[in-house]
């Protein structure tokens, strides 16, 4: 089924890869400029009428974000993820809220968490859940979470930790070495 779908889609789109995870789940890769048309095709002609969610992952080594649009076909009960790689530099992607109205919520979240812009997406610049956030988007891998935690949150009283190197020195070889 999915192979036939790929065949049909390939006539119109440059699909760079297809991964079949199991009978109910597969992933396609598509170029950024073809995404909107591909999603429209999937929604209107292939039965993937539902947008389940949009997520991103940070591939800092490749200087890219990977966006994943997860679609669902209620007739075949099949999930199809569409991957798009976009540059991390001035990261920006076309908004798909004209296709699925709820997309703007995901896009607003991605703007806040990764700094990926979706121009013209409704309320995309408003705070989502990080009210008053003034630092680097926290889901970017170059965001130093530990440093941020140390700077913004105090430990509860009574916390204490031991350094294992010193503990072992004291307990195992107190009179050896320097």
């Amino acid at each position: 089924m999915i192979e036939a779908l790929k065949q049909r889609l390939s006539e119109h789109f440059q699909l760079t890869n297809l991964t079949i995870k199991n009978a109910g789940l597969a992933f396609l890769w598509v170029e950024k400029h073809e995404l909107e048309m591909l999603l429209r095709q999937l929604r209107d002609f292939e039965g993937y009428t539902h947008l389940s969610f949009i997520i991103a992952s940070d591939h800092i080594e490749k200087n890219q974000f990977k966006l994943t649009y997860m679609l669902h076909n209620y007739d075949t009960k099949h999930d199809l993820g569409v991957h798009v790689d976009i540059s991390r530099v001035n990261a920006s992607m076309h908004s798909i809220h004209p296709l699925w109205a709820q997309a703007w919520t995901y896009q607003r979240e991605l703007k806040e968490m990764y700094g990926i812009d979706f121009p013209e997406s409704p309320r995309v610049d408003e705070d989502f859940c990080l009210e008053g956030w003034d630092d680097m988007p926290p889901m970017r891998r170059d965001f130093d979470t530990v440093k941020y935690c140390e700077e913004h949150f105090d430990d509860r009283d009574g916390r204490a930790t031991e350094e294992n190197r010193q503990t072992m020195k004291v307990n195992i070889y107190p009179e050896r070495g320097e």
């Binding site: 430990d155 509860r156 009574g158 020195k169």
Partner: protein, 592 residues
Amino acid sequence: MKLKDVISPFYVWQRAFEKPYTNTKPIDTRPGADAYRGFHVNDIDKCVGCSSCQTICQNHAIDMVTTDKNSMPGDSGLRPRFDYGRCCWCALCVDICPSGSLHMSNEYAWVSDDPDSFRFTPGVDEKPWYQHEQGYHRDPNYNLLKLERAEMDMLSTEEGLKSFDEVVSGYNHEQAIAEADRCIECNICIATCPAHMDIPDYIKAIREQDLEEGLRILYKTNPFSATCGRICTHRCEDDCTISHLGKPLAIRWLKRYIIDQIPAENFARILQDSCEENGKKVAIVGAGPGGMSAAYYLRKQGYRVSVYEANKRAGGMLRYGVPTYRLPDDQLDKDIDYIISLGVTMHYETKVGIDIEFNTILDNNDAVFLSTGLNVPSNLRITGEEHPRVVSGLQVLFDTASGNNPNVGQKVAVIGGGNVAMDAARVSRRFGADVTVLYRRRLEDMPADPEEIKEATEEHCHFVTQAIPVKIVPADNPNQAIIHWGEAEMVDDGKGGRPRPILQDDKMHTETYDTIISAIGQSGDYSFLSESIRNDLSLKWHKFEVDDRQRTRIGNIFIGGDVANEVADAVSAIADGHNAAIGIHQYISEKV
């Protein structure tokens, strides 16, 4: 108003008698999903207190705390304590856990009006979810740790047997970086290393490509790093935390990489060892790894150091016992020459007790360090061992190291299972002999390094275990000897120890060899010490009793190396030398 608007509220009532979609907690509980990331579970017997969970935690939610587990090599004794006020259940701690002790249950409900109760030590503080089978466990097919070791280029067995060239090539840049990148800086290895080398830091220096800093770190605790980078018993690797899931870090080879990249002529500039004279004198007897290590650290403290060595060159067993295919002379010289260059006075071919009296040395110095090694081969204690074709393993190795062919012939038996036996066997193979190793116990009982046994096997040394030599008799050919040996049955010693080999008289064998090499152990020669000093120094099982700083009962005499420690390997001798230097400095400083 439409009729529907009036009656529609009453439709709600029909729902009142249906099963609700929500759970009536606490009457009904809804378990978390099978792989839910719920409250933590830690198998504290499996945990080694490496702190990796604490290091990776992005929320600073984990402390390492003392429990009733004792610190021991390979286990810090500390265990992770979680602050659920900060935890976000991301499971990075589970994903990184090298011992695999940490996972998460699928329990997610915990109610308490005491905020401090949400700090707990999984596995130590009793919690009801420890027996849950469900919960998040690391996917065995996915690992944050790098479990495979960077490959090391080595001579093939056939090539290796053709000469005494070094077998192991050493890492190149890419291999070293890849291997160094596997280290998680958990510090567990430091306690296991006899010299307590700062292993994570020198590996970090490799990763950051700052090899000069790496050299400085090495020399803080070990001035024989070219040597140890090749032939160390690398017990640190036995306790490497990565070894719980994969191959331990090649710590020894990474050490070698640092040394191999830096020419000897740059050592002085990098190490900046200033030796400001303090006017005190220390003598060292024995220029092996223990003695020369002590010489290095004493010289750095400004002592005038004189080393007395019976042989022509320094190095002790490293030079005269370890074959050059494992440790080439030029690499040993790289270590030793730098130590001597700091102004250590060497007295070669000077046998203490013959060429100079020990008491003279003692009188002329503020302290003396003895590290004379075990250089007297043990006898087989069987009839006929005085046959001229019976030689010691030490002699074979000494002759080889001195450039003399030991003339072992074509067919050789090596008796013993230690490193000297393995080296003698492999040296004999390089001289073209067929070699049979006779060992009285089982293969797993052999005291030799597993690596040596493996390589000897690869070099086609034939192992006969549970073989007890009974007697040696002359053969018709005066250049051969006949050994009679019997098969041994392994019998429980009744004390929980390793089984004892018992000779079976009805299973005897006879074989003729060109050379029978005896390598069942060695002891020290203390004849250079006067009887009164020997009596004052306490000997236990042929080893001198010393404290952690190598102090003896005689205040100004310090002893280390194989004559004092039980391990009798190079890195322990080097550590002894370092500790003796600290002890001597304390002793002389207090005396002043």
